[in-house]
């Protein structure tokens, strides 16, 4: 136990040296797609960049593996978590939600054929696939008889492409980005979305004072149209009408 505490303290010391001495705000993400990517050209990369710029800080988005991302931010190793649904603070008590949403994420069913769907029950008996770890999808499909959990969107859409699934459940935006990359033109999403969730930035409680400022910055971006410009620039090339 002592060894673990010592190791954490040493890690904190190292990270504070690396990240703590300037006006950068380190935000963790597990995305590598059109929302956020190492090239910093993702939609959220650009939104955060602009929002933090408006409050006099520099947003530095750092890739962290999904299962580690929230834990690290909760431990204070990083300053914020990029994009999560509401209520994460219940499980991660050191997190504080920025009340203004970053975006609304639509979780949809992608298919090769057109199905009439209307909520979760309408896909219960279909062969469905979801990416393992997507809690909102896992929770809503618990007990479905033909559910496949796959490691990433690559396998998800390949299975759909090979007719091994009836529908693949995924985020609409990132799903289309993946399909574009994989050249699966025959796949498309079904309307209406199965569920839509507003997504929020979370910050460590040590930065709670910044929360109103960040929320104001996001709101001002939405008000002056810069937010919508970034969204359109980032997503329009991918989404099928």
């Amino acid at each position: 136990m002592k060894k673990t505490v010592c190791a954490v303290l040493m890690l904190l010391a190292v990270l504070s040296t690396l990240y703590g001495n300037d006006n950068k705000f380190y935000i963790s993400t597990s995305y590598k797609n059109l929302l956020s990517n190492p090239e910093k050209s993702g939609m959220l990369d650009r939104i955060m960049d602009e929002a933090f710029h408006r409050i006099g800080l520099e947003a530095e988005i750092v890739f962290t593996r999904t299962e580690k991302s929230l834990v690290d931010v909760n431990a204070g190793l990083l300053d914020g978590e990029l994009n999560r649904v509401a209520g994460m603070e219940e499980e991660y008590s050191n997190l504080v939600q920025v009340p203004e949403p970053n975006m609304t994420m639509h979780f949809v069913a992608f298919a090769k054929q057109d199905f009439q769907i209307d909520g979760w029950e309408s896909i219960r008996n279909l062969y469905i696939g979801i990416v393992k770890g997507w809690k909102i999808l896992e929770q809503n499909t618990t007990g479905f008889p033909h559910r496949s959990l796959v490691p990433s969107e690559t396998e998800l859409f390949t299975m759909l492409h090979k007719d091994r699934l009836d529908v693949a459940l995924y985020s609409k935006l990132t799903g289309y980005a993946a399909l574009e990359e994989m050249n699966y033109d025959e796949l498309f999403h079904l309307e209406p979305p199965l569920v839509s969730r507003k997504m929020y930035l979370y910050v460590h409680k040590s930065h709670a004072a910044l929360v109103p400022k960040i929320a104001d910055a996001l709101r001002s971006m939405k008000d002056d149209g810069s937010y919508q410009r970034i969204v359109s620039d980032s997503t329009d090339p991918y989404i099928k009408p």
Binding site: Y127, S148, V150, P151, T154, E155, T158, M159, K162, R164
Partner: protein
């Protein structure tokens, strides 16, 4: 080669033969066992790995598939694993120590990978396992090397141990026993008792052997003493009989006037003299079957010179080595010497007031003896030297030399010189 060394050799040979017989049998058994193990691994792969491979293939999780294949290739003797999916894509991993396997020389196991979907068996691809049976064989053979070396070491140790133990417990005692028997073979040593001199006495075969031989030697000693006594008695009687015959011959000579007959009877009596001296000596000395020539010849020479008219004027020089002869050989030597001395006294010193006789018998080499008789008389004629004449005396001399299988040289220019070389 000593028994101990033969033991070592035979033990080594036996162990080598056993090793040569059992090593291939063990190799075969090991090979079968290893092959069975490989077959069990294949079954294990079929039961535990193939469902996972199928799942990965179905989910198109090729990264996981590759990791699973890498796991399979870690099984012993599986040098290559291939999975070909439904689109013909090949996923292959080679055993890291055999990056370029010769697939045609390996045994192949094929398995079709299917997944049940909507009640149908969907063919997802096939799995091919390449089992390197050559490496399996090679490893089994290599595995036998320590066994062989161990066996050789055991064989060598066992052989040396057997040899050492045999030497300590048997060999050295037998050698001592043999040396004792060799050094105690004459009749005078038969009374000596043999003992191994072991620190502790054992009632074993060696003790029984020594006791048996000691007992036998005791009996032999008794028999030998009895035989000696009998022989001595025989020699005494022979000597007495010869003495009687000699006396009769002398009485006969005294009663006749014919000079030739007189000479013949004197010669015969003289010849008997040499035999009488011999048997007298044999009777008197401890040994009854053999005697040193140094003991016999000087006595004989003095006897002849003593009884022969004019013999006392002759100066005798002898140089005779101490060499043992048996009675028969001494008899031949005595007769020959008697003839030579008699010839010198009768013919060589006729006109001389005194003469010299030299008799030498010495060892010339390991095998050869040299007998030299010399006088300074008038010598002998060429006809005698060539063997054309010489009377009964020289005939006897030649006959005796033949008995010894020797060579004979005679010179008669300045006295007589006879040199005989014979084996002994």
């Amino acid at each position: 080669m000593s028994i101990a060394r033969r033991y070592t050799l035979y033990t080594l040979l036996l162990m080598l033969v056993l090793t040569a017989v059992f090593a291939p049998l063990m190799s075969l058994a090991s090979y079968r066992q290893e092959y069975r193990r490989v077959s069990e691994q294949i079954e294990q792969i079929e039961h535990s790995h193939i469902p996972a491979l199928v799942s990965s293939l179905w989910m198109t999780h090729y990264k996981l598939l590759q990791e699973q294949i890498e796991g399979i290739v870690e099984f012993p003797y599986i040098d290559q694993v291939e999975v070909i999916d439904d689109e013909g894509c090949l996923y292959s991993v080679n055993y890291r120590k055999n990056p370029t396997p010769q697939r045609e020389k390996m045994k192949k196991y094929r398995h079709t990978l299917t997944y049940e979907y909507r009640g149908e068996e969907i063919q997802l691809g096939k799995l091919i396992l390449y089992v390197n049976t050559r490496r399996l064989r090679s490893d089994v053979i290599k595995g036998q090397v320590p066994f062989l070396l161990y066996n050789l070491l055991v064989a060598l140790s066992l052989a040396v141990a057997v040899s050492f133990l045999f030497h300590m417990m048997v060999g050295r005692h037998l050698r001592r026993f043999a040396e004792f028997l060799q050094s105690s073979s004459d009749s005078s040593s038969l009374s000596r008792h043999f003992s191994y001199g072991r620190r502790k006495s054992y009632d074993d075969e060696l003790t029984q052997l020594a006791e048996a031989v000691n007992s036998m030697r005791q009996k032999l000693r008794g028999q030998f003493e009895e035989k000696e006594m009998l022989l001595r008695e025989v020699h005494h009687r022979i000597k007495n009989n010869i003495s009687s015959v000699q006396a009769l011959l002398k009485m006969q000579a005294d009663s006749i006037d014919n000079s030739d007959a007189l000479v013949a009877l004197d010669d015969a009596a003289s010849r008997l003299q040499s035999m009488m001296v011999l048997y007298d000596k044999l009777y008197r000395q401890g040994m009854v079957e053999s005697m040193s020539v140094a003991e016999y010849l000087p006595t004989l020479l003095h006897e002849i010179l003593g009884v022969f008219p004019g013999g006392k004027k002759v100066q005798l020089h002898t140089e005779i080595d101490n060499i043992l002869f048996d009675a028969q050989e001494l008899s031949y030597l005595g007769i020959m010497t008697n003839e030579l001395v008699t010839n010198s006294l009768k013919h060589g010193f006729l006109d001389q007031t005194e003469g010299h006789i030299s008799v030498v018998l010495r060892r010339q080499s390991e095998q050869k003896l040299e007998f030299i008789y010399r006088d300074d008389g008038v010598g002998v004629s060429d006809s005698v030297i060539s063997g054309e004449s010489g009377g009964l005396g020289f005939m006897l001399i030649r006959s005796m030399i033949d008995q010894f299988e020797g060579t004979f040289e005679i010179s008669g220019k300045q006295g007589i010189l006879v040199r005989i070389l014979f084996s002994h």
